[in-house]
């Protein structure tokens, strides 16, 4: 296989002065044209993982405490700020979870997109504005001409999200980090945006890290899936492996919580308990306090173990069937 575009090894993020990793030893590779979906409980470190790669962690108090992230062979985590800034919005772009945090409320949306295009492509102001208009149209903003001069607060939540998507895609990035890009959008626009992202990938071979909690979107978009829990990747595999052969108890719990479109149930299944506070995080497997399979062996941290080619799981009890047989015969 060709060289990966992005090779992340052992990425860890911490709050200054504490000892618990908010992102712990995260490793994965991404090839051009591939889509990696990241799923996991709210607060498990998905956004922090993406922000670390962009060099956009809120630091202080947060900082990267270990690992490397080779992008085109260069380590993003060690890169001088000016080089990183040159990459951002150009070779590498991010769609943020909360559009208002990355749109400038005082600037017209057309100007914001055009400014980024001009900065990275060095084209004329006129060409940049034309590109901004084209991008607004491509993300399905109705009457884009009249929205170029709108301020972010004049737009609906979903339109702001689309403006941000337009901005991120405007310079054809090689790596797109998309943090819940379609969560604020209705399903028809979502389908349109996802198709747009796939087109972009097909045209320019860009790679994408897509953070989403919509397992329907995962099934549709992902080549690979990383399931995170409390800062760690607990399961990693191809989309088919994750959906058709889920192994980690957390992955299975997550999938069971999903409301189905089929039969209506009286009550949704949940995963018992909450993610423990940093100070109460169990040693060993971080899911142990909520896991119905946990036993004494889980007090040691499970390593990622390959259960099939490209399918890795961090759980002592995997495969779960084996555990059942033992318990029954015991």
């Amino acid at each position: 296989m060709s060289a990966p575009l992005l090779d992340v090894k052992g990425l860890s993020v911490r709050i200054a002065g504490t000892s618990r990793d908010l992102v712990a030893d995260v490793s994965f590779t991404l090839h051009p044209g591939e889509t990696l979906c990241v799923v996991g409980e709210s607060g498990c470190g998905k956004s922090l993982t993406a922000l670390s790669l962009m060099g956009l962690l809120a630091s202080p108090p947060l900082s990267v405490t270990g690992g490397e992230a080779l992008f085109d062979g260069r380590d993003l985590l060690q890169m001088p700020l000016d080089q990183l800034q040159a990459l951002r919005g150009d070779r590498m772009a991010m769609i943020f979870q909360e559009p208002m945090t990355s749109l400038n409320p005082a600037l017209r949306v057309g100007d914001q997109i055009a400014e980024s295009v001009q900065r990275h492509q060095g084209v004329s102001a006129k060409a940049a504005r034309a590109r901004a208009l084209e991008m607004l149209r491509r993300v399905g903003i109705p009457a884009p001409e009249s929205r170029l001069d709108a301020y972010p607060h004049n737009l609906s939540g979903g339109m702001r999200q689309r403006v941000m998507i337009a901005m991120a895609l405007a310079n054809d990035p090689a790596l797109l980090l998309a943090d819940e890009p379609t969560t604020a959008l209705d399903v028809t626009i979502q389908a349109q945006i996802l198709a747009l992202m796939r087109d972009l990938q097909a045209q320019s071979g860009s790679a994408m890290i897509l953070i989403t909690h919509d397992l329907g979107v995962v099934a549709e978009m992902a080549d690979k899936v990383a399931v995170m829990y409390a800062g760690r990747i607990v399961e990693f595999g191809t989309v088919a492996q994750i959906f058709e052969d889920p192994q980690h108890p957390y992955t299975i719990g997550l999938m069971s919580s999903m409301p189905t479109l089929g039969q209506r149930v009286a009550r949704l299944v949940t995963i018992p308990g909450v993610v423990p506070q940093a100070s109460q995080m169990p040693p060993g497997c971080r899911f142990a306090s909520r896991c119905p399979f946990a036993n004494a062996s889980c007090a040691k941290t499970p390593d990622m173990t390959e259960v099939a080619t490209g399918h890795r799981v961090a759980c002592w009890q995997v495969p779960l069937e084996a555990g059942i047989d033992q318990r029954v015969s015991a």
């Binding site: 996991g40 809120a58 028809t188 549709e220 058709e244």
Partner: protein
């Protein structure tokens, strides 16, 4: 069945925004909400769905007077809250609470989580300081957060955690109507399931009426009693949830259902994309507002505007051909799992049952 008891009603409700004022001529307006009539029954869960930008948030804000209408009335418990004095409205706010779409901009970053949740109780002079502190702790655990986080600030939390803070805050004043603008869309499915269960429990416990705007149609299908579908500022279909999903009568509703991403690898039949340009709310189409994108549109649709009229199952629909068209609803078995996955799920369920039995009395899980 006795006559339904309506707690909140909108009648001919309109809200416009000026978008661009040309040098000459009339200012251009967006008709964000353009003549909405609806009645929300006490104790029901009423969902509003529709295309991004169709006016859902605007409608929700009008319903609790976070915004005043350009025209029309909002009747809450017999009073037109669109026109009562601000002072009177202030007291009513305790009963009408709002959960915002964007938990980041709606929480004051300089207040601790505890202070944020306490604020509505303070404003409405509910309880003593000690009682309020206790209530804050209870509300935090209620939404699945640790009470120990009360002295931390919103920026220290993930998006989903902040959204739960917003929900705890909305619950603090003991509302009768809770309007959630995408209340669970920032949450992962396991927390979402918890929050949905919490909202349903609270609804039972306190006889709450819920109005929920959501893009996730699986959530809507699970939670709602009735659903209103909006398109370009208007309601195009309104029906009990099963009738709406199983047998939609409006082509836009059918398009929405067809676009639901199915959590199964390779499930999506090509791309079920709505054809045509997205609508322009400034320059509204003639006739049926959906006609430029509707696969069933005829000349009649291009010239004459369909009115909202009765459909079966006690619903309403605004389409000239509602009675003639056969539209696809949710297809049966639209999410079936592989055998291997099913076996794993079964093992998980059995293990859950075993471990909860063993640890009885089990700690409450939701």
């Amino acid at each position: 069945m006795s006559a339904p008891d309506y707690i909140l009603e909108a009648s001919a409700l309109k809200r416009q925004f000026e978008v661009a004022k040309p040098l000459f001529g009339k200012a251009k307006v967006v008709r964000a909400v353009d003549g909405v009539d609806l009645k929300i029954a006490r104790g029901e869960t009423f969902a509003i769905v529709g295309e991004s930008g169709c006016g859902k948030s605007t409608l929700a804000r009008l319903l609790v007077r976070l915004m005043t209408p350009t025209d029309g009335a909002v009747i809450y418990e017999g009073r037109n809250i669109a026109s009562i004095p601000e002072q009177e409205m202030r007291d009513l706010r305790r009963e009408l609470q709002f959960i915002f779409q964007d938990p980041f901009s709606s929480l004051n970053p300089r207040m601790t989580v505890g202070a944020l949740i306490e604020e509505p109780m303070r404003v409405h002079r509910i309880g003593t300081v000690a009682q309020r502190r206790e209530k804050v702790a209870a509300l935090l655990s209620r939404v699945g957060l640790s009470p120990q986080i009360a002295d931390r600030y919103p920026h220290e939390f993930s998006g989903g955690q902040r959204q739960r803070v917003g929900i705890a805050r909305a619950l603090a004043s003991g509302p009768k109507v809770l309007i959630g603008d995408e209340p669970v869309s920032a949450l992962d499915v396991s927390i979402q399931a918890q929050v949905v269960n919490i909202l349903e429990d609270l609804k039972q416990e306190f006889g709450l009426t819920l109005v929920v705007i959501a893009h996730d149609l699986a959530v809507v299908r699970h939670m709602a009693d009735r659903v209103a579908v909006m398109y370009l500022g208007e309601i195009v279909e309104l029906a009990p949830v099963d009738a709406l999903f199983d047998a939609p009568r409006h082509p836009y509703t059918a398009a929405l259902i067809a676009a639901i991403p199915v959590p199964q690898v390779g499930a999506r039949k090509a791309t079920a994309k709505l054809e045509g340009d997205p609508p322009n709310p400034i320059d509204l189409p003639t006739g049926c507002r959906f006609h430029p994108r509707c696969p069933h549109a005829t000349d009649l649709c291009r010239t004459s505007k369909p009115t909202l009229r009765a459909r079966d199952a006690g619903g309403q629909v605004a389409c000239h051909y509602a009675d003639e068209l056969t539209l696809d609803g949710l297809s049966a078995g639209s999410d079936t799992r592989s055998d291997a996955a099913n076996a794993r799920f079964e093992i998980y369920r059995a293990a859950r049952a075993r471990s909860e039995g063993a640890n009885a009395p089990a700690t409450t899980t939701t």
